[in-house]
């Protein structure tokens, strides 16, 4: 499988070591370690409340784990904040949609270009050539993303007015606009019908294939996970109980007991 890929799977880029996260008495994550390889699509699965989102939030700097370390591209990250992570080239989407509701689709995606726009407010206020050129350049990039995701017809609609499935797409678009080489998607296909899911998978695979973007995604649909991921991490009660290729994980007895056995499908 690795043979015909544009970007063959490489060395670990993200290494999470012995992370523990507690909320008061609740242990969301317990002493968990895993790594993500360059250019791979890694799925994180597990029952509700297993700690999947918390794990992403730790990597993203929204939660501060009490113990453990996170290294990205060989560098151990101290004092992680969402801002720092964005600057390091990690982008993400959120489980419960975190779009800018009153802004248009295009404006939402343009915010994703934030780190590619350096004009200060004075340059913008006076519409100096630098600000105008930058705006135009980034607008073109965003129009490309809009076309890629096939949402050109709604690009001027405020996102709050869109149905859920389209909002999920816009959020992916915003993450793509950052041009981060590491994407974390928290349940990108939740609430979608089969067709929409298939479309979303196509986008994810295409981005991974054409740009080599490393992906970490949380997904409940086992069919999707088995189809598109290179490796799967299984979480249960905040602990990692399996980590490996989909087939291997599927055959793991502990996983079957904890997750697949339960009526989750």
């Amino acid at each position: 499988m690795t043979i015909d890929r544009n970007f063959p799977i490489g060395e670990p880029v993200l290494e999470v070591k012995n992370i523990s996260l507690r909320f008061g008495g609740v242990k969301a994550i317990t002493d968990s370690s895993f790594s993500v390889l360059k250019h791979e699509i890694k799925a994180i699965i597990g029952p509700n409340g297993a700690g999947k989102s918390s794990l992403l939030n730790c990597i993203n700097g929204i939660y501060q784990p009490q113990e453990g370390s996170i290294a990205f591209k060989g560098e151990v990250l101290e004092k992680i904040t969402p801002n720092l992570i964005a600057q390091k080239g990690i982008s993400r989407t959120f489980q419960n949609l975190a779009l800018f509701k009153r802004m248009s689709v295009l404006d939402n995606i343009l915010v994703g270009r934030r780190l590619h726009m350096n004009s200060n407010f004075m340059q913008v206020a006076f519409q100096l050539p630098k600000a105008r050129a930058e705006e135009k350049e980034n607008l073109i990039k965003c129009e490309e993303i809009v076309d890629f995701l096939e949402i050109a017809d709604i690009k001027n609609t405020p996102v709050g007015k869109l149905p859920y499935g389209l909002q999920k797409k816009v959020e992916l678009g915003r993450a793509l606009a950052t041009e981060a080489d590491f994407l974390m998607l928290d349940e990108p296909m939740a609430g979608m019908n089969v067709e929409e899911k298939r479309e979303m998978c196509r986008f994810i695979l295409k981005v991974n294939d054409e740009l080599g973007t490393t992906m970490v995604l949380i997904e409940h649909d086992m069919g999707v996970v088995m189809d598109i991921s290179d490796n799967v991490v299984v979480l249960d009660y905040g602990k990692i109980i399996a980590d490996g290729p989909p087939d291997e994980v599927r055959a793991n007895q502990e996983v079957i007991d904890a997750y697949l056995g339960v009526s989750h499908d």
Binding site: I85, L139, E143
Partner: protein
Amino acid sequence: MEQKVSNNNSFMGYTRSDLTNFLIAMILSFVAIPLVVQTDYWYSSILIPWLCLALAAIGQQIVMGYAGQLALGAAGFMAAGAFACFNLILRVPDIPFFVALGLSGLVAAAFGILFGLPSLRVRGIYLMVATLASQFFIVWMIDKFGWFKNYDTSGIITAQDIVILGKPFTSPLEMYLVILVVVTVLTILAVNMARGSTGRNWMAVRDMDIAAESMGISLLKTKLQAFAICAFYCGVAGALFAFTYLKSLEPVAFDIKLSFKILFMVILGGLGTISGAFIGAAFILLFPVLLNSVGNNVFHGAIDATIISSIEQVVFGVLIIVFMIYEPLGMAKLWGNIKQRFSRNK
């Protein structure tokens, strides 16, 4: 795709309808009004305060409508700007008026940053209470230290005349034109910021701060920037208000009531639109005038003035509640809807 982009942007990122609107507004305000309106009353009691307060409302709009920070203290920043301008003209020999005005805005902006700091910790109603501190602190400071009032004990200090390039601008029409120039320039700058990346950063922070941060927007920088720019606009507005409308400098003119007035202008005019600042300011200013003249002309003074002013407050209160619930985008949005309906009927 290149073409698509350049088609929408006929000139420097403005659409054709932007440009026609702008042209109409310019001809109306710079040519038609000065030619048609001859009575001083219209300038000194309506147009001048309207433009000044609309400018302050733009500031409030930036921090509240765009950046989503519920701040209450616009009048405090206005006081800072007014007294800064007074002192600059008093103490700096031959300082050009527009330089003094700009510096007054910057002084207010410094206060804006200072009193915007609570926004990094608290939000909503708590932030509103915290920003109220600016209101009280600035007015207290001016009252407390005689230096700011040039040790005047009478309580009312007359504002200096506006002199530009040796020519005094003292008639209502002349003052109106000075304000109009300032308001035009600052409005264009505000529109540019609001439509550009600066405004997107503000709105992103307003709509979903955690996602904004994850896209690389610094909450600290963005919020304080919005507070600073808000205070700058309020500061300039305050200086103009004192020098052209009040014609005097008294801290009590910049009380909490004025802050609330500006807040209501923004809510009624429509949060998150620059035009809403103008519409809201017009409504808040004109409605009492209208009510009074109805009271005088229709009921021939049969209704007591105190009743009229309570009617005014009841109507404002009801309108604010109605707008908050049914049309948070305010009158600017209503106006847009009406226009849309008309163009569809054509």
